[in-house]
Symmetry: C2
Subunit: 327 residues, 2 copies
């Protein structure tokens, strides 16, 4: 009989990176009831290899559909090859099929190597853009959620030189709205207060160092406010270097490092990357494949553990809110 | 008889901001010997008003040359007028005359209001650019020095949109060299290790999100390394969001908020702004005039106190190094 509680998918990511190790280490710490809600997307040999490394074999379901045919002879930690490049893409494709079939309520993804995945035909800058495309989401945004700071990015993998072109009013408004919806429906904050960062030093100081604050960000805040209604309070455009010690429920940052420099300084390894705007919950650790330490049994599972815990928490929060609405 | 120890000038800044208050509060805590080395540049009535506010009258020299003619009837905390706008510029002009006459070894500047000073004919974005011009320095850079982090900025008050144009190889190399010289001669670190930040997210990830790392920053590091010699070690271009937890003696940041977001998060109110490249030591607190709390007796003097302490420390360090060389 199907469990009434939502299922959580875990993709192992690049099988010769630290993904399998941190996934197994995190899963080994789950209680029996939580483990029954897990489905792992990854080759059996990658999973078993990681269990050996960690010294524990968590009892969880392994998706048959996700087997890429990788053999243990293909698998050397830290040394990618054609088979491992392809395997990480197979895991993701399989997880997407399960999501579309309604079998998963959340997905926590271990890191892929973008360069290796690209060799196997994966044409996206990362998981986020892949899921946006495959799940036909109209718009998504990345949130980094740590114990102290939550930050949503209005732009992600963009060169600094391209920011003035890509930072549009609609894009900023969209990031603000996705942040507000997530605070309300994922974190249960019914009246969130969101700090919206300026782009330029001193937030432009009245147009002296750039005018995106008055030309793009202020109009975006007004647009978002009109769509969100009075329960959401927006404050900004904030002076970036003075903003992060103020107690907002969430910040909307205009570019990658404006948001991630503070997150990584304040929340260290404890922050989790969430994709907002998808039909399911999606979380991931905020680091990469770390080939240099793969297979040595010393990868820290802090962020992966937090990603899985948050996937459970958000799935159950959404289920609780849905059952409230239906009664 | 002239004291053999270097003199420290203090400009009071905007007389109706918090400058006079934080200056007096800091000076009141100095010991007798240190107070004898201080010269205050500011109107008597502004100084006396702040003494009344703080409840203490530190015995220090007041520059006669710096009296702008401001009367107590002109002075209302938080309410600038033509006379106060002009006064802050008079203090700076007077301090520059004293520096040129060889009477000062260091200058710690309380905050001015740039908008007010501009009304009085001050045509510079800030103290740094003013001193660069008036003291005919070939090049300067701003360093923020706190207990945990030191950061030098390659660019300061520039719109994000202008960064690709203003971030030249020579400018980055110059910031690196000024950082290295300051670490060696001001902080006594003979073999400094300097972390040089990338400009783009993930430091461009091999050119995928911008190419300034290979086109500008790497060549600048090579240029600076060839001029600095083998005692200085340069590491970079670093991935910006991962860099600031690494233990470098100093970071060179490519733009204002890349450097100041971490400084203000890690060192809170304890960081001091230093101008590198001037013939004298110059420090200042890292905040503004704060009209909103001026005259209430509750302005925190933490950063001004640290700026004055650092001015003493660097002056004495330079004197010690100079006497080593001459013996």
């Amino acid at each position: 009989m199907e469990s009434p509680l939502g299922k959580i998918g875990i993709t192992l990511g690049d099988p010769c990176g630290i993904g399998p190790e941190i996934a197994v280490r995190s899963l080994a710490e789950l209680d029996e009831q939580s483990r029954q809600r897990i489905v792992v997307f990854g080759d059996r040999c990658a999973f078993e290899g990681a269990c050996e490394l960690v010294g524990s074999r968590p009892m969880v379901a392994l998706s048959e559909d996700s087997q890429s045919g990788l053999g243990s002879e293909d698998l050397r930690w830290g040394h990618p090859n054609d088979a491992t490049a392809r395997a990480q893409v197979v895991y993701l494709d399989s997880a997407v099929r399960a999501i579309r079939a309604g079998e998963l309520h959340a997905l926590a993804t271990a890191p892929i190597s973008k360069a290796e995945a690209a060799r196997a035909g994966f044409s996206f800058p990362g998981h986020t853009e892949f899921l946006l495309d495959r799940l036909s989401a109209p718009r998504v945004a990345m949130m980094f959620a740590g114990p102290k700071l939550k930050v949503v990015l209005a732009t992600v993998h963009e060169a600094i030189a391209d920011l003035p072109q890509v930072l549009t009013c609609e894009r900023v408004a969209s990031a603000i709205e996705l942040a507000a919806h997530s605070l309300q429906s994922d974190f249960g904050i019914s009246d969130p207060i969101i700090g919206v960062l300026g782009l330029n030093p001193h937030a432009g100081e009245g147009g002296r160092f750039g005018d995106e604050e008055s030309r793009v960000i202020n109009p975006a805040m007004q647009l978002a406010a009109s769509r969100l209604g009075p329960r959401v309070k927006l404050v900004g455009p904030l002076v970036p270097d003075a903003a992060f010690r103020q107690p907002f429920d969430c910040f909307v940052a205009m570019y990658h490092d404006q948001g991630l420099i503070p997150v990584k300084l304040v929340d260290f390894d404890d922050s989790v990357n969430m994709t907002l705007g998808l039909p399911i919950v999606r979380t991931s650790p905020d680091h990469g494949v770390a080939y240099d330490i793969a297979g040595q049994g010393r990868a820290r599972a802090t962020s992966m553990r937090a990603a899985i815990a948050l996937a459970f928490q958000l799935t159950d929060m959404r289920a609780a809110l849905a059952s409230q609405k239906s009664t």
